[in-house]
């Protein structure tokens, strides 16, 4: 493994060379501010770009080209990290060495990706109205369908209420309520911003020729000098003077409950690893206390888990429960957290949780995509790629006292229930 960082035409370029894989991963990221008014435009833009280039004016033609390049795959998505919006164009392609006839695919693929980004099919220097309408329809239908999956629907309802005055209420995938406000003009502005004001990061991982890659990046991509980056941690919060207690109704068999806590412990915090371990012990595995107490001992729920969001410093417990078992389950959840201490958590439990976390981090290096994710994340939060050894020793050092200290940071903010409608009527 060999890592190199350099700047090419105002682009921060990161190479991660390894011969362990049979694919090459090439990722281009555009980083700008996360703003409510551009949530939808930034969610829609990468899909619009993938709908046609000058050379391949339709999705269909791009797809045929990708097929011809042995199933080269381009995934686009927009995510929120801290107060930034990150538009990613992730390309995975096979290293030709492992194909009959050993075709050289990388340059053609890189060129295609750059065309998707910089040379979309436009008419009189504007995006095509029909393509824009089409992508907007796709996004609308996708956001509406969120309602069909009760787990994710409950979560998005919860999110809108617990974080009602914070940016975190928005999903980077788009916002249905304000989708109509996205116009072609806004998309044009958004595209100009992405190309000329966003910070550009390119990650290449796998087995490739570095010199050639330098050359292609210089030839096909460019960055911006004026790029401004916002905080990578989202510290917006509210003083919790009163807990929010919410009940909503829907057409579902099992109720969904979500209990949301503020912690304030974020990725760069000293208590980050203790908090992560707390979450693992609480609700992240089949050995987790919530799973054992609520599913195995009391059979109140089939699926119960907890999630810790380190870039926001919040922790959530979510479960599906029988009708009329909501309050009993919530009480039990709070009781488990309350009693979480040396009596409940054995030394063996702690070792198991550490082992789980170690395993997860070691396995990051089994996937080019995950390696790039980790480097990107580490560089943003810590300023550099944290070597595996450092991370493992940090995990190893965590004591049960620190975990309890992390737990003490929790403030109950919101209890949300989505229940079956119409029982009474």
């Amino acid at each position: 493994m060999k890592a190199t960082n350099k700047t090419i035409q105002d682009i921060n370029v990161h190479y991660h060379k390894t011969t362990q894989f049979k694919t090459v991963f090439f990722s281009v990221k555009f980083i700008g501010r996360f703003l409510p008014e551009t949530v939808n435009a930034r969610a829609l833009l990468p899909d619009l770009l993938l709908s046609g280039t000058r050379r391949f004016p339709s999705k269909l033609q791009i797809q045929k080209e990708l097929n011809r390049l042995y199933g080269t795959d381009i995934q686009v998505h927009t995510s929120k990290m801290g107060l930034n919006s990150v538009i990613s164009f992730d390309m995975t392609l096979v290293n030709g060495e492992f194909l009959p006839g050993k075709p050289q695919l990388l340059e053609e693929a890189v060129q295609l990706l750059s065309e998707v980004i910089y040379h979309p099919k436009r008419i009189r220097n504007r995006f095509r109205k029909n393509r824009f309408d089409e992508e907007k329809r796709q996004l609308r239908e996708e956001l509406e369908a969120d309602y069909h999956d009760k787990v994710s629907y409950a979560f998005s309802r919860f999110r809108k209420q617990m974080f009602q005055d914070e940016l975190y209420r928005y999903s980077a995938n788009g916002d249905l309520e304000s989708l109509e406000e996205v116009t072609l003009e806004r998309i044009e502005d958004c595209y100009q911003t992405m190309c000329f004001s966003d910070q550009v990061q390119i990650y290449v991982a796998g087995d490739f020729d570095e010199k050639l890659c330098d050359h292609w990046i210089a030839r096909y991509f460019f960055g911006s000098k004026k790029a401004k980056i916002s905080d990578w941690l989202d510290r917006e919060t509210r003083p919790v003077t009163a807990m929010r207690d919410i009940e909503e109704f829907g057409d579902l068999n099992q109720s969904r409950i979500i209990v949301g806590f503020r912690s304030g412990i974020e990725s760069a915090d000293n208590l980050y690893y203790p908090m992560s371990l707390f979450n693992t012990l609480l609700g992240e595995s089949d050995q987790a206390k919530l799973f054992l107490k609520i599913r195995e001992e009391n059979q109140l729920s089939y699926d119960i888990s907890s999630v810790y969001v380190p870039n926001k410093g919040v922790l959530m417990v979510m479960a599906g429960v029988d009708n009329n078992k909501e309050e009993e389950t919530i009480a039990k959840i709070l009781e488990v957290i309350e009693s979480f201490g040396p009596d409940l958590v054995s030394e063996e439990d702690l070792q198991l949780a550490k082992e789980m976390m170690r395993k997860r981090i070691i396995q990051t290096y089994d996937s080019l995509h995950q390696i790039v994710q980790k480097i990107f994340f580490d560089e943003r939060i810590y300023g550099h790629h944290q070597p595996l050894k450092t991370v493992l020793s940090l995990i190893d050092q965590v004591s049960i006292q620190e975990i309890l200290q992390a737990k003490e940071s929790l403030i109950l903010d919101t209890i949300y229930r989505l229940r079956k409608a119409g029982e009474a009527t």
């Binding site: 999705k59 390049l69 995975t92 194909l99 068999n253 595995s285 050995q287 396995q363």
Partner: protein, 440 residues
């Protein structure tokens, strides 16, 4: 005996051995990877609901959900918590049941031997006591409740019930709450003796570990040594007629967008050999992908007309006793979508992909296949899929590579002649609802 086969240009080696007990082991070395994965497969799925023992022609009928119940039971040992035992060895274990198999799998970044032995132990001393059975039944009932809120899954089963009259693919893998009460300790014992015989099972390993040394260590375990009595069995499928059970089902659901699933039922009146079924599946996929896939003009047109969206999906399945092609989409224009699909499928008889598209598509398949080998678990799953059926994956790939456009002609003909069923879940404000109101 250990066989090694090297596959070029992919540069992957498959190592195979057979234990004394008859257990087949397939291993894929993945040097440099931290993760090691193991899957132990049993050819017992939800469709295996009736078997006939060869020696005395005795029939056994398993209630719906038996395979899944047994999978749960093997984890449920009242003395010790199996998941915890695996965790203590640094392995995370889980299991799943599909229509055609039960699988127990784990992954670890530590040694692979100790958890493997634990897995074997687990299968050798199950607890089928009444208490254990009752406890697990309660858990599975909750699982069934949870799935009832998963609308796409219920759409799928509604369609299976539309396509088929009696083929057990109709049944929910987890069973029904009522059927769970018919699963007895005796039935579980029978299923265990018949399906969980080492001779019927397959172990797939992948990752960076000393493979031959591991084989040697495993050989010592009773599960790889002992030869329990073997019950040869066969199935006597209740063959379906060449028509569907219910051609159209409309259900009102709490949705924002309608869901439509269409199935084409391919006629079967004999058991297909695994390779034969796998090749049929590949041909159907190639044809359908060319006709309606993301690189097709038909799909482009349907997208533009707003008939389908990015959820549109084609899936094909060809198994020993059944075969079908499915189309799924979310849509705001369900009636038009259904009409368009019917129309397109009627015309598929005259469709042949052009040579260039067909070659590009085979290149895509080849490339996607190479990509899977960059993941220890995905490669493990791929090998599990094929080797359990006794198919050599690389032979299948070569067969696919040799296919020519003309080979799809017959497939196109079969598809256009086969009966269809449709399930349409409509939302309160959709056009289907308006139509219904007018009629009533």
């Amino acid at each position: 005996m250990i066989e090694r086969t090297v596959h070029e240009p992919l540069h992957e080696t498959i190592i195979h051995t057979r234990m004394r007990s008859g257990l087949d082991v397939v291993a894929l070395p993945k040097p440099g990877f931290s993760r090691k994965a193991a899957t132990l497969l049993v050819p017992f799925g939800s469709i295996d609901n009736m078997i006939v023992l060869d020696k005395n022609n005795q029939r056994t009928i398993f209630p719906e959900g038996t395979a899944h119940f047994l999978e749960h039971m093997l984890f449920e040992n009242t003395q010790v918590d199996m998941s915890r035992m695996f965790s203590l060895l640094g392995a995370s274990v889980n299991a799943y049941t599909t229509f055609n198999r039960t699988a127990f799998y784990f992954s670890t970044t530590n040694g692979i031997e100790a958890p493997l032995k634990l897995l074997f132990d687990m299968l050798m001393k199950p607890d089928f006591s009444l208490t254990a059975i009752e406890k697990e039944r309660a858990i599975i009932e909750k699982e069934i409740d949870m799935y009832q809120d998963e609308v796409e899954q219920s759409l799928f089963y509604d369609l299976m019930n539309g396509l088929y009259w009696k083929n057990p693919i109709r049944n929910d893998i987890a069973g029904r709450k009522e059927s769970l009460y018919h699963i007895t300790s005796e039935l579980l014992q029978t299923a265990l003796r018949v399906f969980y015989h080492p001779k019927n099972m397959l172990l797939v390993l992948s990752g960076d570990f000393p493979i031959e040394e591991t084989f040697k260590q495993l050989e010592q375990h009773p599960f790889c040594q002992k030869k329990p009595p073997y019950f040869k069995y066969h199935i006597e499928p209740d063959w379906e007629e060449n028509r569907v059970h219910k051609a159209l089902k409309r259900v009102k659901k709490d949705l924002r967008t309608d869901l439509v699933m269409l199935g084409i039922k391919i006629f079967r009146n004999r058991i297909y050999e695994p390779l034969e079924a796998a090749l049929e599946e590949m041909k159907m996929m190639l044809l359908m992908d060319n006709y309606l896939g993301s690189a097709s003009a038909h799909q482009e047109q349907m997208q533009k007309a707003g008939l389908i969206n990015n959820t549109f999906e084609i899936s094909v399945s060809s198994e020993a006793t059944f075969s079908h092609v499915l189309l799924f989409t979310e849509t705001k224009k369900a009636d038009l979508t259904i009409a368009k699909w019917k129309n397109l499928l009627a015309l598929i008889r005259d469709f042949l992909p052009n040579e260039g598209d067909f070659i590009a598509q085979k290149q895509k398949i080849m490339g996607s296949f190479v990509q899977l080998f960059d993941s220890v678990t995905q490669a493990n799953a791929l090998l599990s899929d094929y080797y359990l059926k006794g198919i050599n994956l690389f032979d299948l790939l070569q067969a696919v590579d040799r296919l020519e456009v003309g080979d799809l002609l017959q497939t196109a003909e079969i598809l256009s002649d086969s009966p269809m069923a449709i399930v349409h879940y409509y939302s309160a404000d959709s056009s289907a609802n308006r139509i219904k109101r007018v009629k009533s």
